[in-house]
Amino acid sequence: MEPILSIHNLSKSFMLHNLDKHIKAIDRVDFELQEGEFVGITGKSGSGKSTILKSIYRTYVINEGSIWYISKRFGRMNLAEASEREMVYLRKHEIGYVSQFLNAMPRTTARELVEQAIVEMGNGEDFAKQEAEHMLAHFELDEYLWDSYPATFSGGEKLRLNIARAMVKHPRLLLLDEPTASLDNASKIKVRELLEQLMREGTTMLGIFHDLEFMKNLCHREYNMQNGIFSAI
């Protein structure tokens, strides 16, 4: 079967004009992901793990290489060359991204945040309301928090909301950038349960984890990143 994501010769460096300096983040990364697979990436801070995810999500502009993805809507496409318009669509419908930071819209309640993610995909308001409540409850986010602004949340609460927002879309490809970094054990277990559920639904996932214990028995395969070089474990 053709892999859902295949990355060839991916390199990314940053040109810092103010320092007149080139910084190489990742160098000729190659790997493939089969549909339904869960692949983990480990490595030290600053080794370039997040750069891979951000390049796939197109937050970063890559210098070299290709990122072939099989989209439900557009068929086989190179994400590095997709139009911005197509990327906006994919982000709303097919590719999810969860980071350790919550980029919440100001003055938007937790409930609205999750609802908007569902409405973005073309669902009705009633359905969105129902799904959002279901997801917030599943993450055991206290009900009194649902209608308050996430800016006031604790780190763990923010993260759970962040994951809920990405998961509620049931994305085809989910990118996880250290989603469990600041969670306590109970929350980690919650996240793990949800990831397992997504796996059963056939979601393909690529995740960065510091927490090796967490990754064990969850990922199908693992890669290690060291100084911008990528290798299978």
Binding site: L16, H17, V88, Y89
Partner: protein, 281 residues
């Protein structure tokens, strides 16, 4: 493919110069220009070969420092200025086949009243400060051919309610209102004929933070509920980050960078954009 790839507005090679140009500046291409100004003939090249597409329901951001040509571009699109060169096509006008800059002045008026809405940074440009607020809205409705007073008043009330102006104050002139309220009346007026495209030029600049938030929330709400396409010009990256999916960066009348908004903010390519992003916070 289907309508996915069809922009509602397509701007191609738009240029606007103020001044005659001379042999030294050769239509803005020469290296002898100081930024976008020709020291020999005094011509300013405000917009140089600008192209972009706006898609249905999207918010498109334009950032750049003062004097980069953002407002001139918006003025050209709303016929406040005449372009020097270039074309703009609107999908909902003559099936997107007519360059709106070459239409008759009568047709331009039609486009302005039916296809576009504009909100200016300075409410004095968008409103008649001495007329009643509802009268300001009626003015745009009349310009678009409205004649039924009852229907226009009903529409005016509906719009003012939508932008949170208390109905009991609808007969008051905007000069009695605070800056934020004036912007909201402008937005109501711009929306009055249900235009598919809304042009927002620095609409929150100069407002205090809480009022800014209030206006931004309104814009966000309108975008969600009406699925209207918007161009938002701002030098405030925070505003762009909050509202726009895609962003274009201008400097000295030229476009130096296009991208997804988070890419512009996290991985800016151009020297100037990097400087701009580093100036944030």
């Amino acid at each position: 493919m289907d309508d996915f790839d069809r922009p509602i507005l397509s701007v191609n090679h738009l240029s606007k110069q103020f001044g005659p140009g001379c042999i030294h500046c050769s239509s803005g291409q020469s290296d002898s220009l100081i930024k976008n100004y020709c020291p020999t003939c005094g011509t300013v090249y405000a917009c140089r070969d600008i192209s972009f597409d706006l898609y249905p329901g999207e918010v498109f951001g334009i950032v750049g420092e003062s004097g980069s040509g953002k407002s001139t571009l918006m003025q050209c699109l709303y016929f406040d200025q005449e372009v020097t060169e270039g074309e703009a096509l609107i999908a909902s006008y003559k099936n997107g086949e007519a360059n709106i800059f070459e239409e008759s002045s009568q047709q331009k008026r039609y486009i302005r009243n039916h296809q576009l809405g504009k909100v200016y940074q300075n409410p004095i440009l968008g409103l008649r400060m001495g007329f009643s607020s509802i009268g300001n809205i009626a003015e745009k409705l009349i310009a678009a051919g409205g004649r039924n007073v009852g229907a226009m008043e009903a529409r005016g009330r509906e719009l003012l309610e939508h932008v949170n102006i208390p109905i009991r104050r609808m007969k008051e002139p905007p000069k009695n209102f605070s800056g934020g309220m004036q912007q909201r009346v402008q937005i109501a007026k711009a929306l009055s004929n249900n235009p598919p495209i809304l042009l927002l030029d620095e609409v929150t600049t100069g407002l205090d933070l809480s009022v800014q938030a209030n206006v931004l929330d309104l814009i966000k709400k309108l975008q969600r509920e009406l699925n209207i396409s918007m161009i938002i010009v701002s030098h405030d990256l925070g505003v762009i980050r909050m509202l726009a999916d895609r962003t274009m960066v201008m400097l000295d009348g030229k476009v130096i960078e296009y991208g997804l908004t988070d890419q512009i903010l996290e991985d800016p390519q151009h020297r100037y954009t990097q400087q701009l992003v580093h100036s944030l916070l």
